[in-house]
């Protein structure tokens, strides 16, 4: 047994009202792939931020290679050999790959040498990347490569990876694992943060499980079952959502030849999207982030108008209608971004109830608002969907992600939609809230409505959807029955590994 590379003892960090980390201790050996496992809000991010010098612990100590390790800032952590691949927020879209890499290095070489180094490293580890391209033009998987290469150029002893596979197709995940195994064999330790159990079992040598800021267990992932780890992580066993098979009804929503130019410079254009949605069914739309999910939701919600004749709701053409007219006809949506899109952060839940429910719940008369009615509706949603809040007067941003998401989904479902479109309904939501939300979607379909669930969580889609299709670079594949689909097949539908083969620019043909 080698001496530990990084040893963490009794790390504690508290924020007002919540102890993010409570005397957390564990150790990582050189070359080890160590999983940090836990639900959203279990304290994983705070812990790695302390290791990376972004947050200072209140108590406890860290030891790196036998010496005390107290990084005051990320620069110090990087100098000590700790590198980190972020889940969000660390790339600059308007800068090119080489500039992005240089920003993450202490002493970057001259631009020309750096570009050369990037090419070399990307070749060595099988991560092709052009140093001159703008990051904004890259796919999610390619962006991750930028971050990984940025780390590798600094020869890290410890590489921290925060939820790295959430933006990858199954094929891209395989490539990433290959790279990580190679690094590990070369002696680099990897701290791998995830809540995806099968991945951890496939990749990691050891796992530390966090729940509510505390270490609840340590295990060797290969030797325990995923179900066991899930129970340790969540603290109870969760019932799989219940569903009864219903025969699909009449066509409620029909999309034909929907194309749309993006509204933002780095957006994805939609290309010839077609689908048919029947009463009582859930259509799952999978895809890696940035392949047109937001644009598709905007086209369906009415935030982006489309050419007439492309979208029909129960036979009526709605492509030229705005969000409220579509709501009146029974097409409701819940966008991905809760704060700022689905809900206004600084407004109360009552005001947020009004945001989408005004028309169908009759909350105004000649433009004059019925605040009592809005409050009553908000309270109904809160009660029915078990939203934990002191009341309807509380600002949306004061709610936890899971509670706000339950409110947002509940607000739409309780308006009895004919068609409901949700994007990433359980993103960043704790497991029990996620289970509630999925069950609510299933119940809605059971009662005769149709649901489109856009999600990057493939497990979720396989669990709740009747049919599955993939959104890839703004194109939607033909749907296939969800039951019996393998990850391999889904991966191919999602476009396989992006930009790994030079001749393979086209979307792979998917047999129907």
């Amino acid at each position: 047994m080698t001496a530990p590379l990084l040893e963490i003892a009794g790390l504690t960090k508290a924020y007002p009202g919540v102890v993010a980390n409570d005397t957390v201790s564990f150790a990582i050996r050189p070359g080890e792939v160590h999983a940090l496992l836990g639900e959203n809000g279990a304290g994983k991010s705070t812990l790695v931020k302390m290791i990376y010098g972004l947050v200072r612990p209140d108590a406890g100590s860290m030891t790196l290679e036998g010496a005390p390790f107290t990084p005051a800032e990320p620069r110090a952590a990087r100098a000590a050999g700790v590198a980190m691949v972020f889940q969000h927020f660390s790339l600059f879209e308007a800068l090119n790959v080489a500039e992005n890499v240089a920003l993450g290095m202490e002493d970057p070489p001259r631009p020309r040498d750096l570009a050369q180094q990037i090419r070399e490293v990307s070749e060595t580890y099988g991560l092709p990347l052009d140093p001159d391209r703008l990051v904004g033009d890259l796919s999610a998987g390619e962006r991750q490569r930028v971050e990984i290469i940025r780390c590798l150029l600094q020869d890290p002893k410890l590489l921290i990876m925060d939820e790295p596979t959430s933006v990858l197709t199954p094929q891209e995940v395989e490539i990433l694992f290959h790279t990580l195994r190679k690094l590990s064999a070369e002696g680099t330790a990897i701290l791998y943060i995830s809540h995806k159990l099968e991945e951890i079992r496939a990749l990691c040598d050891a796992a530390t499980i966090l729940r509510l800021g505390k270490v609840v267990a340590e295990c060797t992932p290969r030797e325990v079952s995923a179900a066991h780890m899930a129970e340790l992580m969540v603290g109870k066993s969760l019932a799989a959502p219940a569903r009864a098979a219903t025969p699909p009804g009449a066509v409620l929503l029909k999309v034909t030849g929907l194309s749309l130019e993006p509204a933002t410079p780095f957006g994805t254009p939609l290309r010839h999207i077609g689908m048919e949605l029947r009463a009582g069914e859930i259509l799952g739309i999978g895809g890696v982030a940035g392949n047109g999910q937001d644009e598709l939701l905007a086209a369906l919600s009415g935030e982006a108008r489309t050419t007439p004749g492309t979208i029909a709701l129960e036979g009526a053409q709605i492509g030229a209608l705005g969000p409220n007219e579509r709501r009146r006809l029974g097409l409701l949506c819940a966008p991905e971004e809760r704060l700022g899109h689905a809900a206004a952060p600084d407004m109360s839940l009552t005001e947020n109830a009004l945001l989408t429910a005004r028309l169908r719940q009759g909350l105004d008369r000649h433009g004059f608002l019925n605040w009592n009615g809005a409050q009553a509706y908000a309270e109904q949603v809160i009660a029915k969907f078990d939203v934990r809040t002191p009341g309807a007067h509380v600002a949306a941003r004061a709610l936890s992600g899971g509670n706000l998401q339950k409110f947002v989904i509940g607000r739409e479902i309780m308006q009895a939609p004919r068609v409901l479109v949700v994007n990433q309904p359980t993103w960043g939501v704790d497991a029990s809230a996620a289970a509630d939300i999925r069950q609510a979607l299933l119940d809605l379909a059971q009662n005769g409505a149709a649901v489109i669930c856009i999600s990057q969580d493939l497990d979720e889609l396989l669990e709740i959807s009747d049919r599955f299709c993939a959104l890839n670079e703004g194109r939607l594949s033909a749907p296939r029955p969800a039951r019996g689909l393998s990850m391999e097949e889904i991966g191919l539908m999602l476009g396989g590994a992006h930009d790994m083969h030079e001749a393979d620019g086209e979307v792979p043909h998917v047999p129907a």
């Binding site: 508290a14 433009g367 608002l369 600002a395 004061a398």
Partner: protein
């Protein structure tokens, strides 16, 4: 060291308290400024804030002036606040004010020397239309070409001033004025005059309009869908679009209303207290109204109070100029300082200040 922690909800106490504290801090800082200018700070502050209201020598003149000066400030600020809440920054109210005054005056003078009682209402409408039209320029450029409305509305102030100079010395010049610049006096001619309605109060039609605007805006913001959409668009533009708010309509509405109110304010001023179109009849109400809107927390009732306070600093400033020889520009600096303190203290409504290092709970 101290650090900031975002509050889960804005603090209602601080929202009300910050303007009051800001005024007190401004008095202190202003006192220091006056001391540097070689004046007795306590006396200067007393003359500015108390004497206009309570000193027997001045109160009979000053008290009515309060409403005379607050009227246009409130009227303009109410309009600006609607836009500011929606994230639409009309900072060219001064230009809309000038154009409103010119249009209104031109309408009245076109019928000179008729004394028909319909002329004055017509002037009000002309002023309203002038201000609205001038504000429509940035509105249309913003909605059609996405041109920044801040810069356009502001640059149009200078264009309006060029038109004003031309009006005063050219097309509206008093033909009987022996060549002096300036139009005929509107306030001394029955039919075009905006007179004091109740003697000794300073209440003229512009003040009445300001009060109506306050009530109208209060109802709009608190009870009406349009007010809800304005607030939503300002706080969360994406959510507003999701809620079906049409951004183009909102820009046209907010700029239009604020332009119309500023134009009306200009007309009331030129037909009343100012009396005539002259090269410099405008005294910067369009800019001071920006301070009034913020000081009043963009809230109608707050704007009412802030307008009165700001009017007081104008009157007190004139008094201080008379009594102590404090330059008029000192008051402008004083008003700017007030806005600084207010913006600085704003942080307290949305954040908690924690002193000391982070401590484990």
């Amino acid at each position: 060291m101290f650090r900031l922690e975002k509050r889960p909800m804005p603090s209602r106490v601080w929202i009300v308290a910050t303007p009051v504290i800001a005024v007190i801090l401004t008095m202190i800082a202003g006192g220091i400024m006056f001391a540097i200018l070689g004046q007795d700070p306590v006396e200067a502050i007393r003359i500015i804030f108390l004497d206009p209201l309570f000193d027997e020598r001045f109160a009979s003149f000053s008290r009515p002036q309060l409403l005379v000066k607050a009227g246009p400030l409130i009227l303009i600020a109410i309009g600006l606040a609607l836009g500011f809440r929606a994230g639409i920054w009309n900072i060219g109210a001064e230009g809309q004010y000038i154009i409103g005054a010119i249009c209104g005056a031109a309408f009245g003078l076109a019928f000179y020397p008729s004394e028909n009682p319909l002329i004055f209402p017509g002037m009000v409408l002309a002023g309203l239309f002038g201000g609205w039209a001038w504000a429509m320029i940035p509105a249309v450029l913003r909605t059609r070409f996405r041109t920044n409305e801040i810069l356009v509305s502001l640059l149009l102030v200078y264009v309006a001033e060029a038109i004003l100079a031309s009006a005063a010395t050219g097309f509206l010049r008093n033909p009987d004025g022996r060549g002096f610049p300036g139009s005929r006096n509107l306030s001394q001619h029955p039919g075009t005059d905006n007179l004091e309605l109740v003697a000794g109060t300073g209440m003229h039609w512009g003040v009445v309009a300001a009060f109506i605007a306050v009530i109208f805006s209060y109802v709009l913001l608190n009870r009406h869908l349009m007010g809800y959409q304005i607030k939503l668009a300002g706080q969360a533009p994406r959510a507003a679009k999701f809620a079906g708010v049409n951004p183009t309509r909102l820009i046209v509405l907010c700029l239009g209303v604020s332009g119309a109110l500023a134009g009306m304010a200009g007309l009331f001023e030129v037909a009343g207290p100012a009396g005539q179109i002259s090269i410099d009849f405008n005294v910067g109400y369009g800019f001071t109204a920006i301070i009034v809107a913020f000081l009043g927390r963009l809230h109608p009732v707050g704007i009412l109070l802030a307008g009165l306070l700001m009017a007081l600093t104008y009157i007190g400033g004139e008094l201080a100029q008379l009594m102590l020889g404090i330059p008029a520009s000192a008051i402008q600096a004083f008003q700017g300082m007030l806005l600084f303190f207010l913006l600085a203290l704003d942080v307290l409504s949305n954040y908690r200040v924690r002193i000391g290092r982070e401590v484990a709970a």
